[in-house]
């Protein structure tokens, strides 16, 4: 049976590999984390070490100036970037990053305007509470809902995993705020005493994938510990279980919890044991690969791959493991406006790669 599955996976990979080619757009990126595509055809790439770089005509430009101070250590650093829907007219973008020091750090989100090659009008929108003393599990992904409100994933801080089930803090949560930093009045917990009103959903470990799909479904994936990475379809007010329920095990070999399900806690749409370490996330709606239309793509660090998920009515029908031939930890996967897939490899000499149809 195992041989049969392995053979099918091989055939699947072989068939896909013949359909695409992978080219290096730029290299020499310092642990790149996220990409956005600018209206003028350029790209912006965040580097975890704290730089924001423009890629123009296939060339890596000098870092964008006037970025806020970033706490970069361990998993901490500059994370996601997101353009405002009116970026073409207002130049506004959103950045998430670790702020503070080794002893007191937190996820922070700012908005700013990009004018030529520097940030101006920087406004702090959100800082996760409480500050923590670990350089791990920040979350840090951003997405805009159709109503223009901003979703932010916040990790549990590793040593603070209990906080993911408590609603008086931001750790292990998805936050929803307006793009001016104010709290929407229709957030699920705004009227509940002792609960932070920014909380939209909760019970996460380290969510590094967030996506609002074309049909409005909000998808989130998160790193489990040893096993137990999850893809969840998230809805406001719901509890996604960590660390009360999980399919993963603590790195020490002990249980995080002996339970995988409990009343009032949501089950993942799919989970991975062993871990694939899901990082980037996108939905493919381009024209270059018609066979991938509507599929979800998940960058996987540990598996050194991209998972292609074929969806049907919010369920995963099949999965394909792509790009393992690169042998690289893949941090980010995005579909470009040209219909090609763009990948970031996670290393001190990271690359921006473009996947296009084979000639």
């Amino acid at each position: 049976m195992l041989i049969r599955i392995a053979w099918l996976l091989f055939l699947c990979n072989a068939a896909s590999a013949a359909d695409y080619k992978i080219e290096t757009v730029v290299q020499g990126l310092s642990n790149p984390w996220a990409i956005v595509f600018l209206p003028d055809g350029d790209l912006l790439v965040t580097e975890r070490s704290g730089q924001l770089r423009r890629v123009s005509g296939g060339n890596l430009q000098a870092p964008i100036k006037n970025l806020p101070e970033v706490y970069a250590a361990g998993q901490a650093g500059l994370f996601d970037i997101l353009l405002d829907r009116k970026f073409a007219s207002n130049g506004r973008l959103y950045l998430s990053f670790a702020a503070g020091t080794a002893d007191a750090n937190a996820l922070r989100v700012i908005s700013a305007r990009l004018v030529k090659d520097q940030l101006v009008d920087i406004t702090e929108l959100f800082t996760a509470s409480p500050y923590k003393d670990t350089p791990h599990h920040f979350g840090g992904r951003l997405a805009l809902l159709p109503d223009q409100s901003l979703l932010i994933t916040v990790g549990d801080g590793f040593d603070y995993r209990k906080q993911a089930q408590l609603l008086d803090n931001h750790l292990g949560k998805v936050i929803r705020i307006h793009t001016d930093g104010t709290v929407p009045v229709d957030n699920p917990f705004v009227d509940r005493s002792g609960v932070l009103p920014e909380i939209w959903t909760y019970g996460y470990r380290n969510p590094q994938g967030l996506l609002v799909s074309a049909d409005g479904t909000v998808w989130l994936h998160e790193h489990g510990p040893k096993g137990g990475d999850e893809l969840n379809r998230i809805e406001p007010g719901l509890n996604y279980g960590w660390p009360a329920i999980t399919h993963g095990m603590d790195y020490s070999g002990a249980y995080v919890s002996p339970y995988t399900e409990a009343e009032g806690m949501q089950q993942p749409v799919v989970y991975w044991v062993p871990s694939i370490a899901p990082a980037g996330f996108c939905e493919y709606r381009g024209a270059a690969f018609p066979q991938w239309q509507g599929n979800l793509f998940i960058a996987a660090l540990a598996e050194k791959s991209v998972r292609r998920l074929v969806m049907k009515q919010a369920e995963v029908v099949t999965q394909e493991v792509l790009f393992t031939e690169l042998g690289e930890r893949i941090r980010e996967v995005r579909a470009g406006p040209d219909g090609y897939l763009y990948l970031l490899t996670d290393s001190a000499d990271g690359q921006l790669l473009r996947v296009s149809p084979a000639e």
Partner: protein, 146 residues
């Protein structure tokens, strides 16, 4: 013969400390889970405890052995320099060995490797587990050199 006896006593001490630390750690984790509103039956508690005793062997058992080795050598050195009774030096070494190891790992890696060590009460229980292990060592080697 004396060396073999000391080695066997050391492994007995490590095993006892591992057992107690593991049991204590599981109860801390289960208490947290109860705090989230889940009910834990006695069979689930026993199964989880047994699972963790076994599951922690590759990490915790080795960590205890390494921590004891360093702590007992420090105790022998301390006794040589300052005098005093052997069993007291060893018990103090056992009491401090595991918390120091946990703090060192946190300092180097930035994280707490063992969930129970993240609280003062958990750290204290781990310290007492180390003390009991060291006490077993002194019982089994009443005239040892270490």
């Amino acid at each position: 013969m004396q060396k073999l006896k000391t080695i066997l006593a050391f492994f007995a001490a490590v095993s006892v400390a591992h057992l107690l630390t593991s049991i204590a750690g599981t109860q801390f984790v289960l208490a947290d889970i109860q705090g989230y509103g889940l009910t834990i039956s006695l069979p689930d508690r026993l199964a989880a405890t047994a699972h963790d005793i076994y599951g922690l062997i590759p990490v915790l058992l080795l960590l205890v052995a390494a921590a004891y080795l360093v702590a007992f050598l420090m105790a022998a050195l301390g006794r040589r320099l300052f005098g005093g009774q052997r069993q007291y030096w060893l018990r103090v070494a056992g009491f401090t060995s595991l918390p120091v190891a946990m703090v060192l790992i946190k300092w180097v890696m930035g994280i707490t490797p063992f969930a129970a060590a993240g609280t003062s009460a958990g750290l204290l229980l781990i310290a007492f587990s180390g003390l009991v292990g060291a006490w077993v060592f002194t019982l089994l080697t009443p005239t040892g050199e270490a």
